[in-house]
Amino acid sequence: MNRSFNKSQTLRYLECSAVEVKSKFGAEFRRFSLDRYKPGKFEDFYKLILHIHHIANLEVMIGYADVHGDLLPINNDDNFFKAVSSAHPLLRVFIQRQDEVDYSNFGTNTLSRKKKALVTLRNDNLRRRPHINISMPHDFRPVSSIIDVDILPETHRRVRLYRHGCEKPLGFYIRDGTSVRVTPHGLEKVPGIFISRMVPGGLAESTGLLAVNDEVLEVNGIEVAGKTLDQVTDMMIANSHNLIITVKPANQRNNIIRSSRMSGSSGQSTDSTASHHSLPTSHVLQNFHPDEMESDEEADIVIEGGLEPQHIPKLHSLTSSSLSRINGSSLSHRLQRDLVLNNNSGRESNGSIHKLLSSLKTDPRHSLVIPRGGIEEDGTVITL
C-alpha cells in the first residue's frame, strides 16, 4: 500500500497527467493509473478491469464515486471520461456483479451519507418490496414520447408511438364528432376526429399520453381537418409503424407549462427529434420527409431464391403432390427454420431476427438504419 501510494504520489507529483485508480471488487482492491487527458475507450477500460481482477467471465457493473461522494455508473465513453477527468485526487472504482447490482444506490449519496436516518428509512422501505431488477436506461427502448413541445401551442400535444414487434396492439379507436373553434366570426362548430376508446393494455393506453375524447388534429404532420373518419383511419394505419399524432387533450390540466416564454425566442430549440414535422408549411414536409423520416421502417424483406433448376410437374397434377413438394421447399420455409434456430431465448430473439433479417437485406442503406424492433414480425410468424 505504502509503496504504491508513494509511487502514485510521485507519479502524480511528477506528471500531472496521470490519474491514480483504486478499484474495488468484493473485498479485493487493485491499483493502477490512467492518463487524465487520454483515458482511452470505455471498452478497453472494462477489459482492463476484468483482466486486473481476473474476472474475465463475469458480467459486471462499474461505478465510481464522484466529487460529492455519489456512486455513479461508468458504462460508456462519456461518463468514463468524465470520471477520469474529475478524479480528485484519485478515482475510486467499485465493481459489482451484474446480477447483484442494487440500482437504487446509483445517483444517491450512497457513499457518504448512507448512514443518515432518512436515507436509511427509505432504503428500508425499498427493501421491504420484492426486489425488482431495473435495468439501465439504455436497456429500455422508448414506447412513446412527447415531441415538439417547444413549437406547439401549450394546449396541443404531439405524441409519438413506437410500435415494436407485435407484443402490444396500438389499441385505440377513433370517431367522428364536433369541436368548437374560435374564428374571426366567433365560435364555430366544426367536424373533428376524436379518440373514442382505448383498449386496456394497449400501447396507447399504457403510454398515458392519449385519452378518450382527445381531439386528433394531425397525423404524422398532416392535418386531419376536412378528412373523413375512414381517411384518417387509413392514414393512421399507413403510419402505424411510427405514428405521430397531434392531439388536443380533453383534459387540459396536465399540459406541459414550458418556460420558453421567459427565455425568449432563443429558447426554441430546433433539434428536437421530429421538429420539422411541425413546420407550418406542411407541403415541404410532404415532399421532403419520406426518405429521411421514414426509411427506418420501410425495410421490405427480399429473399433471393436459389435459382437452382427445379423439377417440373407433369400433367394430370390434380392428385399428384409433386408440385407441393417443390414448392414446399421454398425459401420461406427455409427462412423460418433458420429463424427458429436463431431463436435462443426470449429476450434475445428479437435482436437475432433483426440481425438475420438485416443480413438478408440487399440494400446496405436499409440494413444500416433498421432500428431495433422496427420489424413487425416475431420469429414464428414470418410468412413470406
Binding site: 396500438l170 392514414m235 393512421m236 407541403h283 420501410e298 397434377s317 390434380l318
Partner: protein, 1083 residues
C-alpha cells in the same frame, strides 16, 4: 404561345401541397417566362434531391411544363368526364322531333338526353333531382318542354356555341294554385301537355279537369284562354254528366287538319271537341273510363282506349252533335277481363290498312304480368312482348319486374306523305332498353340501334379495354358478330338528325365486358357511341341445369295472343358460377383468356370458320396439399364431354380448372411464350397452353386464414354481413324515425311532440361510428388472395442476363418472382417451360399489391408481346438497369433490378388518407406534338379521385375528382385505357367515359339545325349563372370553323356575349321581356 390556355381546372388544387409543382405552372395568366421561372424554382425547392436522377427523363421539369413550350399540356383540364355510353338508367320519358329527327329521353334522376345520328348526343340535367315525367319537342325549333313529378315545367334550348350545339335549361314554370280553391294542390297537377302546331302555345291538362294555355317559349300563362270544367259542364246535357265532375284531363289531341279545334278527353269517359275560337263544344262523345285518344289523320274519326282493355272508333261529324255509340268497339284480347289499354295510336298507311298500335290490354288472368305492345294492321296482329324471359310466370318474385310499362314510354315515328302517314318505325322505350321495330319490312323486324345498347342485358362483372386494335383483328371480330346476328331489317336507323362534328377516331378501341351469364361482349369503343360488335358465350362448354331452350320463341302458331319476344334484356343468370371475372386478349395473335367465378380459365383462339372439337381439360391444384383446409364453396363446373360445335369467333381450346374452384382474381397472358398465369384466393398457377401442361402451382394461403375457404356464399361471411346490416338498419331507423318526426302531418306532429316530451330531450346522442386503429397483421383473413400477375422479360438473376419472368402479388403485400425457362419458338413442342423461384418480397406495410410493372432502362414500361418483333413499339432499353414498380393499396414504390432495393416511393395513404383502387401506366401525348409522349401512372383511389404520377420518379402531377366516393361499384368497375382515357359504370347500364389526356378526348360534338320562329336566345340569361369556362372543351377550338350549321338559311344563331355590358344588356332585355306577356324579342 398558348400559355394560360391550359389552366388548372381546380384552383383549389393549388392549395394541395403535394402537387405544388404541378399546379404552379398552371396558374392562369402566367407568361411562358414566368411559368418557367416558377417551375424552375419549385423544382429546386421541392425536388432538389430527386432532380438529378430524373433530369434526363423529363427535361424541363416534367409533364405539365410542356404547356409552356408546345402550346398544350398532356393532361386534360377540368372534369375528366366526356360522354356516357350505354342505356340511361331508369328512363321515364321519351319524345321525338320529326323535323330535327332527334329523340329525347328523360330519366328519374332528372337528366335529359338527346340522340340523333350516331355521335349526335346532347345531355342536360335538371337542377332538381326529380323524375322527368313528360318531354315534348316544339317541333323543329330546338326547344324542349319537360315536366317533372314536382309539377314544374322546364324549357330547354338547343343553342349553338362555337359551331356546336348544346342543351341548356332556360326557364321554368309552375302552375299557380287556383285562386279561391286554397288547399288541394292536386287540382293543378299537370296530367297532359300538348304543344300546339305553330309552337307558340302549349295546352296543359290538369288533375282538376281544367285546361290551361301557356305562351311559348316565354312560359307565360294565357289566363284569358283557360278552360275550366264549369264551362264544359254548361254545354253538356245532364245525361252526359258523369257524376259531379268529369275527372282529370286524360288526353288532349289537336285536330290534324284544323289547329283551332282540340279533342279533350276526361278520365270519367267524356270526350269533347272544343273549338277555341268560338269557345264552344262542337261534339260530345261518352264512353267508358278513358285512357287515351288518337285522331285519324283525316280528322273524320277518332279512336279511344279504355281501362277495360277495349278501344272504340268514333265518327266525328258537324257541330253540336252528341254521340253515345261508337262505330266500332272491340276488346282485342277479350272476352275475359283485360287490363287497360294505356295508349293508342292510329296511323294511316298508303299501301293498305291503317296501323292501330296500343300498349297493354292483355287478359288480366293469364297474361296480366306481361308488358306488351300490339301492332294491328288489318288482319295482321303482332303482340310484342317486352317482358324479360324469366319473369313470365316462372319467377314472379324477382324484384324489379313489377313495373308496368308507363304509357309515356311509348312513342311512334312516322312520315307524312300525301295525306297518308306511312309509319316507318315504331320506337318503344322500356325500362331497360330501347327497341325500334321496322314497320315497312314485312314481318316487322327490329332495327339494331347504333347506340343506347343495354350493356346490362346480363349484369357486368368485369371490363377490359384494348387500344390500337389492328385492322385485321377488328374485321374478323366484326364479321364474327355479323354472322352471329344477321340483320333482318334493311332499314337504316331512322333517328338520324344532326351532324356529328367529332373527329374520326384515330384508332380502334375495343371494350370487352364480362357478364354474369358467362358471356363476353365486344364493343366498339372508338367513338362517342358504343356499338355492339360480337358476343361470346362460354356457357355451352359446361353442363348447366338450365338449357337455353326457351319455350317462348318456339311458341306454337296457334297460341293466342301471338306473342313475339322483343329485346334482349335478360338479367337473370342460370348459374352464377358462369360469371366472367377476368379477361385478357392479345391483339396480335387473337388469343384470348377468359376466367370465371368457378375457377375456370378458358384459353381461346379466333377462328373464322365453324368448328367442332373437344376442349381439353386440365386441373391445377392450388392448395398444394396444405392441410386443414376444406373448400366450403361451390363445386367446379362440369365440362361437357365430347366434341362441341362452335360458331365462328373465339373458340376455346383449353379449359384449366383451379382446385379449389374459387373465383379467379387475376390472370395474365403472354402469347409469345404461350403461357397463361392465373390466381385465386388460394394461390396462383402457370399453364403452358401450347403443350397443354401446367408449369407451376403455388399456394399463397396463410395457415390461419379461415375465410379463404368459405367461397362466395359463405355462412360465416353472410352471418357477419347480416349482423352488420341489421345494426345499420337499427341505426338508420333511428335516424329516419327522427326525420319522420319533423315531416309528419300537423295532427301527428302534436302526438309526436307529446311523445317527445315524455321521452326526454329530442337531441338524443347517437352512438357514433368508430374505427379501430390497428395495423394489418400477418394473419388477417384473405391475405393469400392473388391480386395481380405480370410477365416481363427482365433481369431477375443478375444484371447481365435478362430472361422471361413471372411476378405475382398478393393481398398481404407479398410479391413472388419466378425466372422462367422458355424454349425458343422452334423447340416449343420438344421442351417444357420451367419456372424457378427467384425472389420473394414482403412489403412491410402489408397492403395488398394492386399492380406490378417493370420499367426499362429509360423508365418506360416494357412493351407487350409481339409489339417489338412486329415493329409496333420501340425495343425496350435492355442495357440500362431495369426497375420494378410495385403499387400497393397504400403506396407506390420503384425498386431496382436485379438487386431489389427501393429507389423511389410515394406513400399515398399516409399523406392523403386515400387508398389505391385501380392503377395503370398510361402514355399521354401532348396536344402540341404527338411525338411528345410521357408515361405516367394513373391511379384511382377509394375516394373516387384520379391521381397522376410521373414514372419512375413517382412525383404527383395533378389530381381530379372523378367518381363520387359513395359510388363503390363505379370505382370498382373503372378501367383505364393505354392512352389516358377510361370507363366506369355510373349505373348498371351505363359507362361514363373520362379522359385524362388532352389529346385523346372522345366527346360528343354535334350540330343540330334549328329553325326558330323567334330568337329568344337572351332567355338564357334570365338566370345569372356562371358562364362556361373557356377551357371546358379543349377540342372545340380546332373545330370551330365547322360549316353547314352557319350556312343554313332562316336560322338565327346565338353568339355568346363577349363583354359584361352585353351580358347586362341581355339581362335587362330579358327582364323587360318578362313584363310583356308576348315576350318576343327579335334581334
Amino acid at each position: 404561345m398558348g400559355t394560360g390556355t391550359q389552366i388548372c381546372p381546380q384552383t383549389e388544387d393549388v392549395a394541395e401541397p403535394f402537387c405544388k409543382g404541378a399546379s404552379c405552372c398552371l396558374l392562369p395568366g402566367d407568361t411562358a417566362e414566368q411559368l418557367l421561372a416558377h417551375w424552375g424554382s419549385v423544382t429546386l425547392e421541392c425536388f432538389g434531391v430527386a432532380a438529378p436522377e430524373s433530369a434526363p427523363w423529363c427535361k424541363g421539369g416534367g409533364l405539365l411544363c410542356d404547356s409552356g413550350f408546345g402550346g398544350g399540356s398532356a393532361l386534360t383540364p377540368l372534369s375528366p368526364q366526356t360522354v356516357e355510353h350505354g342505356f340511361p338508367s331508369q328512363p321515364s320519358a321519351l319524345a321525338y322531333d320529326p323535323w330535327l329527327r332527334v329523340m329525347a329521353i328523360g330519366t328519374k334522376a332528372g337528366a335529359v338526353k338527346l340522340y340523333g345520328a350516331p355521335g349526335v348526343e346532347l345531355t342536360g340535367l335538371h337542377k332538381e333531382t326529380a323524375t322527368v315525367t313528360q318531354l315534348h319537342f316544339l317541333t323543329g325549333q330546338g326547344w324542349l318542354l319537360s315536366l317533372l313529378d314536382d309539377n314544374s315545367l322546364h324549357l330547354w334550348e338547343i343553342y349553338q356555341k362555337e359551331g356546336c350545339s348544346h342543351l341548356e335549361e332556360t326557364r321554368s314554370f309552375g302552375l299557380p294554385a287556383r285562386p279561391g280553391s286554397g288547399a288541394a294542390p292536386l287540382i293543378t297537377r299537370v296530367t297532359v301537355i300538348l304543344p300546339m302546331a305553330p309552337g307558340t302555345v302549349a295546352c296543359l291538362g290538369t288533375e282538376g279537369g281544367a285546361v290551361y294555355f301557356l305562351a311559348l317559349p316565354s312560359l307565360v300563362l294565357l289566363e284569358d284562354k283557360t278552360l275550366l270544367q264549369d264551362e264544359i259542364l254548361q254545354s253538356v246535357p245532364d245525361d252526359y254528366r258523369c257524376g259531379k265532375a268529369l275527372g282529370p284531363v286524360e288526353c288532349i289531341q289537336e285536330h290534324p287538319q284544323d289547329a283551332g279545334r282540340l279533342l279533350i278527353g276526361y278520365s270519367r269517359g267524356l270526350v269533347v271537341l272544343w273549338d277555341q275560337s268560338t269557345r264552344t263544344v262542337q261534339h260530345l262523345f261518352l264512353g267508358n273510363q278513358l285512357e287515351s285518344l288518337a285522331w285519324e289523320h283525316s280528322g273524320k274519326n277518332i279512336a279511344s282506349s279504355h281501362s277495360d282493355g277495349g278501344y272504340m272508333v268514333w265518327a266525328v261529324g258537324g257541330s253540336g252533335q252528341r254521340t253515345q255509340q261508337p262505330i266500332t268497339a272491340t276488346v282485342p284480347y277479350g272476352p275475359f277481363p283485360c287490363k287497360a289499354i294505356s295508349k293508342i295510336l292510329w296511323r294511316t298507311c298508303e299501301s293498305g290498312n291503317p296501323f292501330i298500335i296500343f300498349s297493354g290490354g292483355m287478359p288480366r288472368a293469364s297474361y296480366g304480368d306481361r308488358h306488351c305492345v300490339s301492332v294491328l294492321q288489318g288482319q295482321r296482329l303482332a303482340t310484342l312482348d317486352f317482358t324479360s324471359r324469366t319473369s313470365c310466370g316462372t319467377n314472379p318474385a324477382v324484384p324489379g319486374l313489377g313495373f308496368p310499362l308507363p304509357s309515356s314510354l311509348f312513342y311512334f315515328l312516322f312520315f307524312i306523305q300525301q295525306g297518308f302517314e306511312n309509319p316507318r318505325a315504331l320506337v318503344v322505350l322500356v325500362e331497360e332498353e330501347l327497341v325500334v321495330i321496322d314497320l315497312q319490312t314485312p314481318g316487322w323486324p327490329t332495327i339494331p340501334a347504333p347506340y343506347l345498347a343495354p350493356l346490362h342485358s346480363s349484369a357486368i362483372t368485369c371490363s377490359y379495354h384494348i387500344s390500337n386494335v389492328p385492322l385485321k383483328l377488328w374485321e374478323r371480330i366484326v364479321s364474327a358478330g355479323e354472322q352471329q346476328s344477321p340483320r333482318l331489317s334493311s332499314a337504316a336507323w331512322p333517328i338520324n338528325g344532326g351532324k356529328n362534328l367529332a373527329q374520326e377516331p384515330t384508332q380502334r378501341g375495343l371494350l370487352l365486358t364480362g357478364h354474369e351469364d358467362g358471356t363476353v361482349r365486344f364493343w366498339d369503343a372508338s367513338g362517342v357511341s358504343l356499338k355492339p360488335l360480337y358476343k361470346l358465350g362460354t356457357a355451352n362448354i359446361f353442363q348447366t341445369d338450365c338449357e337455353h331452350n326457351d319455350s317462348l320463341n318456339q311458341a306454337g302458331e296457334e297460341e293466342w295472343p301471338p306473342f313475339r319476344k322483343v329485346g334482349c334484356f335478360d338479367p337473370y343468370s342460370d348459374d352464377p358460377r358462369l360469371g366472367i371475372q377476368k379477361i385478357a386478349l392479345c391483339k396480335y395473335t387473337a388469343k384470348m383468356v377468359v376466367a370465371g367465378t368457378a375457377g375456370q380459365v378458358l384459353v381461346m383462339e379466333l377462328n373464322d370458320d365453324k368448328s367442332e372439337h373437344t376442349v381439353s381439360v386440365a386441373t391445377v391444384d392450388l392448395l398444394q396439399d396444405r392441410e386443414g383446409f376444406t373448400w366450403k364453396g361451390h363445386d367446379r363446373l362440369a365440362p361437357r364431354n365430347g366434341p362441341i360445335t362452335f360458331t365462328p369467333g373465339f373458340q376455346p381450346s383449353v379449359l384449366v380448372q383451379c382446385v379449389p374452384p374459387a373465383a379467379v382474381t387475376a390472370i395474365t397472358l403472354h402469347s409469345e411464350w404461350n403461357l397463361v398465369a392465373f390466381g385465386t384466393s388460394h394461390g396462383f398457377g402457370l399453364f403452358d397452353y401450347h403443350r397443354r401442361n401446367p408449369v407451376l402451382a403455388r399456394c399463397t394461403l396463410h395457415p390461419n386464414d379461415s375465410l379463404a375457404m368459405e367461397g362466395p356464399l359463405s355462412r360465416v361471411k353472410s352471418l357477419k354481413k347480416s349482423l352488420r346490416q341489421s345494426f345499420r338498419r337499427i341505426r338508420k331507423s333511428r335516424v329516419s324515425g327522427k326525420k319522420r318526426l319533423n315531416a309528419g302531418s300537423p295532427s301527428s306532429k302534436e302526438a309526436n311532440a307529446q311523445l317527445a316530451e315524455q321521452a326526454g330531450p329530442p337531441e338524443v346522442e347517437m352512438t357514433p361510428v368508430q374505427r379501430r386503429i390497428e395495423p394489418r397483421s400477418a394473419d388477417d383473413s384473405l391475405s393469400g388472395v392473388v391480386r395481380c400477375l405480370y410477365f416481363a422479360d427482365t433481369f431477375l438473376r443478375d444484371a447481365t442476363h435478362h430472361g422471361p419472368t413471372m411476378w405475382a402479388g398478393t393481398n398481404s403485400g407479398s410479391v413472388f418472382a419466378y425466372a422462367l425457362e422458355v424454349p425458343s419458338q422452334e423447340k416449343f413442342s420438344e421442351r417444357a417451360v420451367e419456372a424457378v423461384l427467384g425472389k420473394e418480397i414482403q412489403l412491410m406495410h402489408r397492403a395488398p399489391v394492386v399492380a406490378i410493372a417493370v420499367l426499362d432502362g429509360r423508365g418506360n414500361p416494357l412493351p407487350e408481346p409481339y409489339e417489338v418483333s412486329r415493329d409496333l413499339a420501340k425495343a425496350p432499353d435492355m442495357q440500362g438497369s431495369h426497375s420494378m414498380l410495385i403499387s400497393s393499396e397504400e403506396q407506390f414504390k420503384v425498386f431496382t433490378l436485379p438487386k431489389v432495393s427501393a429507389k423511389t416511393k410515394f406513400k399515398l395513404t399516409a399523406h392523403e388518407g386515400c387508398r389505391v383502387r385501380k392503377v395503370a401506366l398510361v402514355s399521354l401525348a401532348s396536344t402540341g406534338t404527338e411525338e411528345r409522349v410521357e408515361n405516367c401512372l394513373a391511379c384511382l383511389t377509394n375516394l373516387g379521385d384520379i391521381h397522376i404520377f410521373t414514372v419512375p420518379a413517382l412525383r404527383p402531377q395533378v389530381h381530379y375528382s372523378c367518381i363520387r366516393k359513395e359510388d363503390i361499384s363505379g370505382i370498382a368497375s373503372c378501367v383505364f385505357t393505354k392512352h389516358g382515357q377510361g370507363f366506369y359504370l355510373i349505373s348498371p347500364s351505363e359507362f361514363e367515359r373520362f379522359s385524362l389526356s388532352a389529346r385523346n378526348v372522345t366527346e360528343p360534338l354535334c350540330c343540330l339545325e334549328v329553325s326558330r320562329l323567334q330568337d329568344t336566345s337572351c332567355l338564357r340569361w334570365v338566370r345569372p349563372r356562371a358562364p362556361h369556362p373557356p377551357w371546358k372543351h379543349p377540342v372545340v377550338s380546332i373545330l370551330a370553323s365547322s360549316k353547314g350549321a352557319q350556312e343554313s338559311p332562316g336560322c338565327i344563331w346565338f353568339i355568346s356575349p363577349r363583354s359584361s355590358e352585353e351580358v347586362e344588356r341581355n339581362m335587362r332585355n330579358a327582364s323587360e321581356d318578362e313584363m310583356r306577356p308576348a315576350g318576343i324579342l327579335i334581334k
